[in-house]
Amino acid sequence: MLLGPALAVSAILFSIGVAGVLLRRNAIIIFMCVELMLNAVNLTFIALAQQLGPEGQVFVFFVMAVAAAEAAVGLAIIIAIYRHRQTLDLQYINLLRG
């Protein structure tokens, strides 16, 4: 019965992802931290799927697709911003404020 521990590990990984987003300034690493969060959620799904049926695994499949889509667009955006600013450090990306 590893469901509880798996959910806990998932929560920890998720929180680490959140902490990463808080900790880093580089857009691409922040994005990786978001990916980490998604993966933590995937673990929850998978762990639950063992008890609740294969739908959980189907969700993970969708999440992967979403992650892929986001990665494509996100990295394109990151490239676009790099073209403008020559940096990915969010500290320097605040033209818009107020």
């Binding site: 959910l7 998720f14 992802g17 987003v21 857009a27 922040i30 994005f31 978001v34 969060m37 998604l38 933590a40 959620v41 929850t44 799904f45 639950l48 609740l52 049926g53 294969p54 739908e55 959980g56 969700f59 969708f62 999440v63 979403v66 889509a69 986001e70 667009v73 996100g74 394109a76 955006i77 990151i78 676009a80 911003i81 073209r83 403008h84 600013r85 969010l90 990306i93 605040n94 033209l95 818009l96 404020r97 107020g98």
Partner: protein, 508 residues
């Protein structure tokens, strides 16, 4: 047509007709964009095609609504109810107005990428899924579809560092929020064993999961995810920057349709699936509403830029909508629908004015730049005044009727404090809507040549005219829209009896 059996392929296709149709149109437009993407003419043609697709879809939606299509049998991924049609109409309307608004804007800013319209259509498809999804996963995918498209739209002006920054901020925070949203889905799935909203409702009530910790945390995470999309304080911080940096039609689209889509899904999830846990989330929504109303309105007062002011104003309006949600009753859902329609009209109208008046970079358009507009462009000024007053919630405009409706739902739920906060917010909002009217009408233009280049041309003029007229019309004669909104809200809250046999959509 009546009832559709969703277990048949034809029934299912029919149930998905609007979304399928619009997706197909988007594919076709992609192909066109792939072939013809050279000049302004191509661009305009692409826009016209998109417009045709949206209008056609709108017609289909209205047709299905009028035919009162309902499903029989097991709960399905997609809802077939008035709420879906009503929200679809709002999204499509928002998209149509955005396309109309885009023609001259795209021309002026030389954004020659027909994919713009493709993404607009795809985002609309995503919204429609959000409004119609009866399964959390559909809502999630709809949300992602919409988001991905809008991330790109926000940054579509590649020449603009502002747009790029807007896109980046929106994307990073959006993806971050998606993680929470997804986590919420997972936890609710874990607590109830299903992601179907009807079944969640059923499980929640039959198993008494109203205090189940997993469900509650899941609900909290869902709220966070939605809170981001609808720009509820304190999840709103991206919104002003992104609205500010994105091209104005996209901003209008985001402020109106994207927000409405987030709300549609939120209302459906909270009132349909999680109404059994109402005491748990109502308090949070209450606080979010209060914060959103106050913060949105207060910061808006401090703005000098028109676009940012409207951005904060849209945050404040999210607060009003949240107040309707916080009432937690059918009236609230109806009020949301009506207000969403009114809000879409007036917000897009207002942004249309910004798009027109901001001829040399709408980011820099200060409120004071409209000084004396009424002397040069009286009709545009009158239109703007109508939008401002409607946003303010002044009688005779749709905004007033909407606010009245929301207050009615709040007071029905005996949330008097919330009602007072709402009206206090309205008072604060007078502090920034009125100055717009004031500078336009009550001050002379700064120079002889001021506003010479401001011109309402073609489709843009149509947008302002149509939205202004509709705002006034719904402010005086709201009955048809009101009745439809009420029935939509009623449909949602009084969910059909959950089937007793099945626990999950899938076979075991």
């Amino acid at each position: 047509m009546g009832h559709l059996d969703l277990s048949t392929a034809s029934g299912m296709t029919l149930a998905l007709l609007p979304e399928v149709m619009l997706s197909a149109w988007a594919f076709a437009l992609t192909l066109y964009a792939g072939v013809r993407h050279r000049d302004a003419v191509d661009q305009r043609r692409a826009g016209l095609i998109a417009l045709a697709g949206l209008v056609a879809t709108l017609i289909v939606v209205i047709w299905m609504w009028a035919a009162d299509v309902r499903s029989v049998g097991l709960p399905f991924m997609m809802a077939l109810d008035a709420f879906r049609w009503a929200t679809s109409v709002v999204f499509l309307l928002g998209a149509i107005l955005t396309v109309l608004l885009s023609f001259s804007y795209v021309d002026r800013e030389r954004l020659w990428a027909p994919e713009y319209y493709v993404l607009l259509l795809l985002a609309t498809v995503g919204m429609m899924f959000m409004g119609s999804g009866l399964d959390l996963i559909v809502i999630f995918l709809g949300l992602e579809l919409m988001s991905v498209a809008v991330y790109v739209l926000a940054g579509i002006n590649r020449r603009s560092p502002f747009a790029a920054e807007a896109a980046l901020k929106y994307f990073l925070l959006g993806a971050f929020a998606s993680g929470f949203f997804l986590y919420g889905i997972a936890l609710i799935y874990g607590a109830t064993g299903t992601t179907n909203l009807t079944l969640i409702d059923y499980q929640l009530r039959s198993l008494g999961l109203g205090t189940n910790l997993m469900l509650l945390i899941g609900a909290a995470m869902l709220l966070v995810g939605f809170g981001f999309k609808i720009a509820a304080v304190p999840f709103h911080m991206w919104a002003p920057d992104v609205y500010d940096g994105a091209p104005t039609p996209v901003t209008a689209f985001m402020a109106a349709a994207v927000k409405a889509a987030g709300f549609a899904a939120l209302v459906r999830v909270l009132l349909h699936a999680l109404s059994g846990a109402l005491p748990a989330w109502q308090n949070i929504v209450w606080w979010l509403a209060v914060l959103t109303i106050l913060v949105g309105n207060l910061i808006a007062i401090a703005q000098r830029q028109m676009k940012r002011m409207l951005a904060y104003s849209s945050i404040a309006h999210a607060g009003y909508l949240l107040a309707a949600v916080a009432s937690g009753n059918a009236l609230g859902a109806g009020a949301f629908l009506f207000y969403a329609l009114a809000y879409t009209l007036m917000t897009i109208g207002a942004f249309a004015v910004v798009a027109m008046a901001g001829h040399n970079g709408e980011r820099d358009l200060l409120i004071d730049d409209l000084t004396g507009l009424a002397r040069r462009r009286p009709w545009l000024a009158i239109g703007t005044a109508i939008f401002m007053l409607s946003l303010l919630g002044f009688p005779g405009t749709a905004g007033f009727m909407g606010k009245w409706f929301i207050l009615q739902s709040i007071l029905q739920a005996r949330e008097h404090a919330l009602a007072v906060v709402l009206v206090a917010g309205s008072v604060l909002s007078a502090g920034y809507y009125l100055p717009v009217v004031m500078v336009m009408f009550m001050k002379p233009p700064v120079s002889e040549t001021a506003h010479e280049q401001v011109a309402a041309r073609g489709a843009g003029r149509l947008v302002v005219a149509v939205t202004a007229i509709c705002v006034l019309l719904f402010g005086v004669w709201p009955n048809p829209a009101l009745d439809l909104a009420r029935s939509g809200g009623h449909d949602l809250a009084s969910s059909p009896q959950a089937p007793v046999s099945s626990t999950s959509g899938a076979e075991r």
